[in-house]
C-alpha cells in the first residue's frame, strides 16, 4: 500500500457529509499520486496488478478444465462400458478434417504466443533482413512490433475462423446423414459412405440394390447382438454363419445391455449388404482414402447414438470456446491498434493468449479421443 501518497485528501472536501453530490464514478478518484493510466486504483504497483490478473486467469483456466472434465469423464465412462460403440461410430468422423483442424489450431497457438511477445515489445521495430555478407544486411521488411502483433492476432482469428468453418462442414455432414444424438440418430447410410454427397445416393435407387434394402440391412445389423435366425441376406461366405443378424428393428428388450465380448464381429462388411450391391460399388470404397473399408466396420452396436451425443457436446462446447476466444482476440486486436500495450502493460494480450492455448489444448485431447479410435475399441 502506498503510505505517503494517500495522506493527501483523495476526495473533494465533503466534511459536512451531505449536499455535495460526488460524481458516481466510484473508482475513478484521483489519489494525488502518479498512477499509470492502466493501473487500477486498488493496486499499488503494475507488478501487483499483473500478478493478480495472472493468478485470476490461471484459476479461470482451472475452472475451464474442470468444466470440460465432466465431459471427459462421461466419455471415459461410456468408452469403458461400450467400447464397441466408439470403435464403430468413430468411422463416421473424418479424421483428415480433424487433423486439418488440429494443425490449424496448433499454428494459431504459435501466432498467438508470438503476438504476446510482439505486444511486449510494443513500438520496437520488427525487421526482416537478408545477410549480404561482411556484416551487411539488406532490409526486406520493417514495421513496429505493435503492427506485427496486430497481424499475428489477425492470423490467429483467421485460424479460429478456419477451424469453425471446417467444424461447420463436419456438422453439416452429420446433420444431413442424421448422425445426431438420441432419437434423431437415424442414419440411412453405411459407414464409409459418409463422404458421399446426398444427390449421388439417388441413382442407387434405380439399380439393383435400392436404399430400402440397404436400410433394412443396416437396421438388421443394429440388433446384431440378439441371437436370432438370419432374416435378411447376409454378407459373404465364411461369415454368413455368424449369428449376427436379428430382427430388423432397433428396439432391444428393456434393460438389454450389450457387453463387448458379446458383439460378434463381422469380418466382412455390415451383414445384410447384398453381394451384388457390394460388387457394383466396390470401387467407391477403394477410391476414397478418407473412408474406411467395410471390413473394418463391424455391425452397428446398440446405442451408437451415445457416441454422437458425446461428440456434439464436446466439440460443441469447445466450438463455443473457440468463438469466445476469437471475440476476445478481436478485443485485444482493437486495443493493440489503439496502442494500449507495450513493455509496461500487456496483460490482456497475455491472458487472452493463455485462454487461447487452453482452448487449443482441449482440442488436442478431443481429436485423438474422438477421431483416432482404433478398431479394438
Amino acid at each position: 500500500m502506498t503510505t505517503t501518497a494517500h495522506s493527501a485528501p483523495s476526495h473533494p472536501p465533503e466534511g459536512d457529509g451531505h449536499g455535495h453530490p460526488v460524481p458516481a464514478t466510484d473508482h475513478a478518484d484521483a489519489h494525488g499520486h502518479e498512477h499509470p493510466k492502466f493501473l487500477a486504483h486498488h493496486f499499488d504497483t503494475p507488478q501487483q496488478q499483473f500478478d493478480s490478473g495472472k493468478l485470476g486467469v490461471w484459476l479461470f483456466l482451472t475452472t475451464e478444465i474442470l468444466l470440460f472434465s465432466g465431459l471427459f469423464c462421461a466419455y471415459a465412462v461410456y468408452r469403458a462400458r461400450h467400447p464397441e460403440v466408439f470403435s464403430f461410430a468413430h468411422h463416421y468422423l473424418n479424421k483428415w478434417l480433424g487433423a486439418l483442424n488440429t494443425i490449424v489450431l496448433i499454428f494459431s497457438s504459435f501466432t498467438m504466443a508470438w503476438a504476446v511477445r510482439a505486444s511486449q515489445l510494443g513500438e520496437k521495430p520488427f525487421l526482416i533482413a537478408l545477410p549480404k555478407g561482411k556484416g551487411q544486411y539488406q532490409q526486406l521488411f520493417r514495421c513496429s512490433h505493435r503492427q506485427l502483433c496486430m497481424f499475428l492476432l489477425s492470423i490467429t482469428i483467421v485460424c479460429g475462423g478456419v477451424f469453425m468453418c471446417v467444424k461447420y462442414l463436419e456438422y453439416k455432414n452429420k446433420w444431413q446423414e442424421n448422425l445426431l444424438p438420441g432419437e434423431l440418430f437415424r442414419p440411412t447410410e453405411l459407414p464409409g459412405e459418409t463422404a458421399r454427397p446426398r444427390d449421388e445416393a439417388k441413382p442407387l435407387a434405380k439399380e439393383g440394390a435400392p436404399p430400402e434394402g440397404l436400410t433394412a440391412g443396416v437396421a438388421a445389423t443394429r440388433a446384431a447382438s440378439q441371437p436370432a435366425a438370419a432374416a435378411t441376406p447376409v454378407a459373404l461366405a465364411p461369415e454368413a454363419s455368424i449369428p449376427a443378424v436379428g430382427p430388423a428393428t432397433r428396439q432391444a428388450p428393456e434393460g438389454f445391455l450389450v457387453e463387448q465380448s458379446q458383439i460378434p464381429r463381422a469380418a466382412i462388411g455390415p451383414a445384410g449388404v447384398s453381394s451384388d450391391w457390394e460388387k457394383a460399388h466396390a470401387s467407391r470404397f477403394e477410391e476414397q482414402s478418407v473412408v474406411v473399408t467395410k471390413e473394418q466396420v463391424g455391425p452397428e452396436p446398440y446405442n451408437t447414438h451415445i457416441f454422437f451425443g458425446i461428440y456434439f457436446l464436446m466439440t460443441g462446447l469447445h466450438g463455443i470456446h473457440v468463438l469466445a476466444g476469437m471475440a476476445l482476440i478481436g478485443w485485444v486486436l482493437v486495443r493493440t491498434r489503439r496502442g494500449d500495450f507495450g513493455p509496461d502493460y500487456f496483460s490482456p494480450v497475455d491472458f487472452v493468449g493463455l485462454y487461447w492455448h487452453i482452448v487449443d489444448l482441449v482440442w488436442i485431447f478431443l481429436f485423438p479421443l474422438l477421431y483416432l479410435i482404433g478398431n479394438s475399441g
Partner: protein, 581 residues
Amino acid sequence: MTTITPDLARAGGPLEYAHDNYLTHSHGVRSWLLTLDHKRIGIMYLVAVLSAFFVGGLFAEIVRTQLLIPTGALFTSASADASPYKVYNQMFTLHGAIMIFLVLIPGIPAALGNFVLPIMLGAKDVAFPRLNLFSFYLYLSGAAIAVISIALGAVDTGWTFYTPYSIESQTAVSWMVFGVFILGFSSILTGMNFIVTIHKLRPPGMTWFRMPLFLWAIYATAIIQVLATPVIGITALLLMMERILHVGIFNPKFGGDPVLFQHFFWFYSHPAVYIMILPAMGVMSEVISTFSRKHIFGYKFIALSSIAIAVIGFLVWGHHMFPNGQSTMLATIFSFLTMTVAIPSAIKVWNWLATMYKGSIDLATPMCYALAFIFLFAIGGLTGVFLGTLSVDVHLHDTYFVVAHFHYVMFGGTLIGFLSGLFYWWPKITGKLYNETLGRLSCVLIFVGFNTTFLPQFVMGSQGMPRRYATYWPEFQPYHVMSTIGAYIQFIGFAVAAVALLHSLFKGKTSPANPWGSATLEWSCTSPPPHDNFKTTPTVGDPYDHSNLVWDDKVQGYVRNNRLAESYTTKTAIPRQPKGH
C-alpha cells in the same frame, strides 16, 4: 495501528460516526447499480440474499403446513388437480433450490464476505472489482431465470434433480437447471476474486498466519467454489441436453446411467455444503474470540482445519449413494473418508470451546447466535457420523433423519452463523446499533423453534418416515405437528430479527468504530467504513490480541491503548469494561 485520536472522534460528533462513508460517498441509483465498491456490492448481495431467504422460508412454511395432518392439510387427494401432490413436490423443491443456490451458497461469502474481506485484509477492494459486480449480476440473472422457471412450471424434482425423473418431468427443469448453471458461474467468479485478493492484496505485515480466521475460512471456501462449481455447471448443461436432445448420458431409456448423474451432482454438491458451512465457521472464530475477550485458542489448527475440510470435502461425495448401486469397496472407502471430516470439524468446535473457557463472555446477540451454532452444529455433525456409517445409512437413507441432519448443519450451522455474522458486522455495515434485547429474543425464538422443528424429525426418520412424502401414516402425526409448530415459532423469530435490524436503521444509535472490542482490521476504520476503507495503510497486528483495547466512554466504544498492551498476556481474558451501551 490506526490510533483513534480525540480529533477524529470530535470531527464525527460524539461518536466516531463517519459522515463521509461508502454510503454517502455518492448518490443516486446509478451510483449503486454500477458501483465497483465491494461494500456496496456486498450490500446488494445482502438485500438479494435476504429476499430470497424470505421466499424460500415461505415455501418451507407451506411444506410444514401441508404436513400438519396425515392426509395433507393443503394439497390433498380430494383436490381437483389430476396429480394432487405435484404442488407439494413443487413447494419442497423450490424451498430446497432457493435456499441452497440463492441463500446458503452466496449468503456468507458473497454478502458478508464481500463487505468485510478486503477491509479485514487491509486492502482497498477485491482484486477484480468489475468481475465482482459482474458476478452479482450473474447472481441476479440466475435468480431471474429461476423465477421464470417457476412461472413456466415450477420444478417438482427435488433440489437434487435426480434423473431419470428430472428428464421425464413436464415442469421447467431445463430453465431451473440453467439458472443453477448461471448461479454457479457467479459463485466461481466470487471465489476466484477472493483467492486472488487474499494472495495478492495483503498489505505489508499481513502474513498468512496473521490473517483473521474468517479469511482462512473464506479462502478455503473459495478453493471449493473454484474447483467444484464447474462440475455442477457441466452437469446442468448435460441434464439440459439430456432433456432437449436425449444424448443418452443420464437417461436409461437411451442407454444412459442415472447413477452417473448422481456422481456428477454430488461431486459438486457435497463440497458445496462445505462452501456453505466453512464461512459460517469463520464467523464463529471471529465472534467467539471477540465476545469472550480472549485470544482465539489454537489459531493455526483452526486455520488449517478449514483447508483440511475443503480438501477432504472433495473425496466424500459417494456417501450420498450408499444404497444406490455403488460397489461395497467404494462405499467403504467413502464411509471412511466421511468419518475423517469429523476430525477437522471437531478441532474447530473444541478450539471454540477452549477459547470461551475462562473467557469474559458477553452474551451479546452475535454471541448468542454463536452459542446456538455450536450446539446445533454439534448435533448436526454427530448425526452426520451416523449417516456416514454404512450399515446405519441403509436404514436411515432418504428418511427424515437425513432431513433433520441436513437442516441442523445447514440451518443450525450456516444460517445461524450468517445471522451471527450479520448481527456482528451490522454496526460496521450500517453504522447503527440495534436493540440488543430484540436481537437476543430473536436468537432464543429461532433456537427454540429450530429444535422443536427438527429434533422430532430425527425420531420420525429413525422410525422410517421417508422424506419428501406429501402424506404419511397417522402414527407420525405428533412429530409432524410438533415440527410444524416449531416452524411457526422460527417464523416469529426471524420476524423479530428483521424488526431488530430494520428498527436500528431508523432509530438505532450511531455505532462507534469498534463497538465490540474486536482486534481485526475492519474495526479500526470508521463505522460505516469510508469509501477507500483506509486513508492510510493499516498496521497489521495479531487479529485476536484484545489486550490493548479499552472501553472509552467518550466514544462509547473500544479504543486502542498501546500502553496496556504489555500488562496482559494473551492467555487470559481481558477484563471487560463496565458496559455503557
